[in-house]
């Protein structure tokens, strides 16, 4: 369950990422993505819990020095899991510039097809 104070933030992050108004960044962990908002940052991460191997999405708040100050951890099959996993997927695609890459590949393929 997403904590009440986090819900509007998660919704806003999804909305703005969807509208390409946010630029997520990659980190030293392939499953962890970062967005810097003012002095603070938000990290979205997906991992499998131990030992039950259940998929978990973490949304963590970092202060200006990158220190974790709080976070929520939503695991499958929580009602909100799909919502936070949607955010994780969007952040990942945004940070890795997947749409841009597909578009570039398509341009090359189209040019060869002419």
């Amino acid at each position: 369950m997403i904590a009440t104070e986090y819900r509007p933030m998660v919704d806003k992050l999804i909305h703005l990422t969807q509208n390409k108004q946010l630029n997520w960044e990659t980190t030293s962990d392939a499953n962890k993505f970062l967005i810097t908002l003012g002095l603070n940052s938000v990290v979205v991460e997906q991992f499998a819990s131990y030992p039950d191997d259940v998929s978990v999405v973490a949304i963590e708040l970092l202060n200006g020095l990158g220190e974790k100050i709080d976070g929520i951890y939503i695991s499958e099959p929580d009602d909100d899991y799909n919502r936070v996993f949607e955010l994780y997927g969007m952040a990942r695609r945004n940070a890795l510039k997947i749409e841009q890459t597909i578009s570039d590949i398509m341009n090359v393929l189209n040019s060869k097809d002419r």
């Binding site: 030293s28 962990d29 392939a30 962890k32 990290v43 991992f47 131990y50 200006g64 990158g66």
Partner: protein, 169 residues
Amino acid sequence: MGDVINLVCGIASLCGVFLALIQIQQANDQISSVSEIAEATKKAVLDNKREIRGFLSFAEMGHLIEIIKNTQNYIRKKDYSSAVILMQEIKDDLLRADSQFSELLKMLDIDMSAHIKRINIDINSLVTTVLQTQNMKGTTLKPMDIHANLEDAREIVIKIEQNLKQEKV
């Protein structure tokens, strides 16, 4: 006559005892004064150490560059536990450099807090990886990203060091 001698001896003996007591008292005073001086010296040394700890000296900067290089070697060798310990030290020193050389960093257009943030995130990623490895799980760590972030930090410290050398000249 004998009584007079006895009286003189008694008085002399009393005086001797009295003088001995005074000397013992003086010795005691000296001992406590020495221990007070020792205590005060210890406190002054500690205060001084704390003060020195607050500033990053020229020698410490060279040491920091070495620590960063060693950490990069640990990352290459996949010795992540050792890397985490050194990265905590690097983070502390970068924090000190950030406050000590804020003007210089501004002049060089370096956002040290962004680099400290990266180091902190890398520390968390490494800790997670160490735990995952202990649990015999696969890892999603990108060691070369950590290596690159450390290289950025090393270049910043070198820049600060070079500027300080120029100032000295």
